[in-house]
């Protein structure tokens, strides 16, 4: 990729079930803190799944004025919370031409809870009572729109809406914007807030969710006992910046985004291809752009949802992408064992984890991984964080619709 402009990370922000802010998230992920607990956002009496990963004590007023809080869905509020931390950390505002500042921010769904609430209003009180903010609150591009407004980012502004790959696709597409000269910096990432009755009921009936009662045996990536994911919420943001632009303003550079792969299984609306070729090709593209070498010490933040199919298929994809021997040498973890599955925000938080791994040489664990599965036979950093110097850090995301995304980071 020598002919393209280089893309680096100059800011990060995160809000998740394990913490507010990048530092708290990272500390808790390294310590193996489990962010999963009982659903408090609605009454689960009639629901088979009763656990989730909620952002605890979230007060949108910490990030936005009252008027904006009242006209934004929780998913957009998480996006603003994450973006404001990342923007603050980067110092980019005032140091970039507003027309060269873009926003690509993903969400799997958008404002589902707003949709349900206003539909209930329609049924109970009639069409004159549906909020004028229903549409702008619910639409999946509004997180991007609101971030652009807040930071006067007048370049391209779009969401990526590729289910659980949304965060990763947003970041990857943002990288291409900079590479190909359409922007000098991009506020990118993903957010999600789909923990509402209708969302959870839909996922339960897809048989996608774990119905475990015990918070320590619900999100079980790569474990033989795994039976579905635990739905979670939150937001995470990165500031991507063209390398020379960042250097010129003496910005702190956290990592270089050196590769991106994006493919589709073109196979089934929810199930992955059994030969894992879609995911494998996404990984291979990212590895190729990153000039992967067998000498590399590789970390992979797996998609690792804890569904029976995902984890064994993803394991196969990793083996096919790296080769069996190299796959066995790589260290992998699923931080979803601690956060649950933040859907469209997952890839963005996991990109941050991948960067922190490079920076610190610490691999956050896959907690509660106790029972070996012969179809998941790689090193998933079970139970406790381990130290290892990593030269190439990957983050996989695989979404309903067959969307596969992979990001590759290196130290600079």
């Amino acid at each position: 990729m020598e002919n393209y402009r280089r893309v680096v990370v100059t800011g990060m922000g995160a809000i998740s079930p394990v913490g507010k802010g990048v530092e708290e998230n990272w500390k808790n992920l390294v310590d193996g803190v489990n962010g999963i607990d009982k659903i408090t956002l609605f009454d689960t009496s009639d629901f088979k799944a009763k656990l989730d990963g909620e952002v605890k004590d979230f007060n949108p007023r910490d990030y936005m004025d009252k008027s904006d809080v009242l006209k934004s869905d929780r998913y957009a509020q998480f996006a603003i919370a994450a973006a404001s931390e990342a923007v603050g950390m980067s110092g980019i505002i005032g140091n970039v031409d507003p027309e060269r500042l873009a926003v690509y921010f993903g969400t799997g769904i958008g404002g589902m809870a707003t949709f349900v609430k206003e539909h209930n209003t329609l049924i109970k009180r009639g069409p004159t009572r549906v909020s004028p903010f229903f549409v702008p609150m619910m639409i999946a591009n509004m997180a991007s729109g609101m971030i652009s407004i807040r930071y006067n980012a007048q370049g391209p502004s779009m969401p990526a809406v590729t289910a659980c790959a949304s965060g990763t696709n947003a970041i990857g597409e943002a990288m291409r914007l900079i590479r190909h000269g359409y922007a000098d910096a991009v506020i990118t990432g993903g957010s999600e807030a789909a923990i509402c009755e209708c969302g959870v009921a839909g996922f339960i009936n897809m048989q996608a969710l774990s119905t475990a009662d015990d918070r320590n045996s619900a999100s079980l990536p790569f474990d033989r006992r795994r039976s579905g994911f635990v739905i979670a919420e939150g937001g995470a943001a990165l500031i991507l910046e063209e390398y020379e632009h960042a250097k010129k303003r003496n910005a702190k550079i956290y990592a270089e985004l050196v590769g991106y792969g994006s493919t589709c299984d073109a196979y089934h609306i929810t199930a992955p291809r059994s030969d894992a070729e879609g995911a494998r090709r996404a990984m291979s593209q990212a590895l190729s752009e990153a000039n992967y070498d067998k000498e590399d010490s590789v970390y992979i933040n797996a998609h690792g949802t804890g569904t029976p199919l995902n984890d064994k298929t993803e394991t196969l994809a990793i083996k096919h992408a790296l080769g069996e021997e190299e796959a066995k040498k790589a260290i992998i973890s699923s931080t979803k064992s601690m956060t649950g599955h933040m859907l469209g925000a997952a890839g963005a938080l996991e990109a941050i984890v991948s960067i922190k791994v490079l920076e610190s040489g610490i691999i956050p664990p896959t907690i509660n991984l106790l029972e070996h599965d012969e179809e998941c036979d790689l090193d998933y950093a079970p139970l406790k964080a381990v130290k290892r110097d990593i030269t190439l850090s990957l983050s996989n995301s695989l979404g309903f619709g067959g969307h596969n995304g992979c990001l590759a980071f290196r130290r600079i």
Binding site: D65, K66, S67, L70, K71, T128, R129, S131, P132, F133, P136
Partner: protein
């Protein structure tokens, strides 16, 4: 309905929806000054309908708090 009841309901609603202080909201205040745009006005009127138990169908431009007080008082 008397003007004070209407004014107080408007003031309460504006405070619920914005960061405006009670003292900022006067009869001559424009909605624009209070940070209320046209979409906000629609929601504000819905809230007022509930508070005052009236149906408000605005057929003219209401720029100030007084415009709205007068409009509702005349219903």
């Amino acid at each position: 309905m008397d003007e004070k009841t209407i004014f107080d309901a408007i003031k309460e609603t504006v405070i619920e929806r914005t960061d405006a202080n009670e003292d900022d909201i006067k009869m001559e205040s424009t909605f624009r000054e209070l940070g209320i745009d046209s979409l906000d006005t629609v929601e504000l009127l819905m809230n007022l309908e509930d508070k005052l138990d009236v149906t408000i169908e605005v057929d003219r431009k209401l720029e100030t708090v007084k415009d709205l007080v007068d409009f509702i008082a005349a219903l």
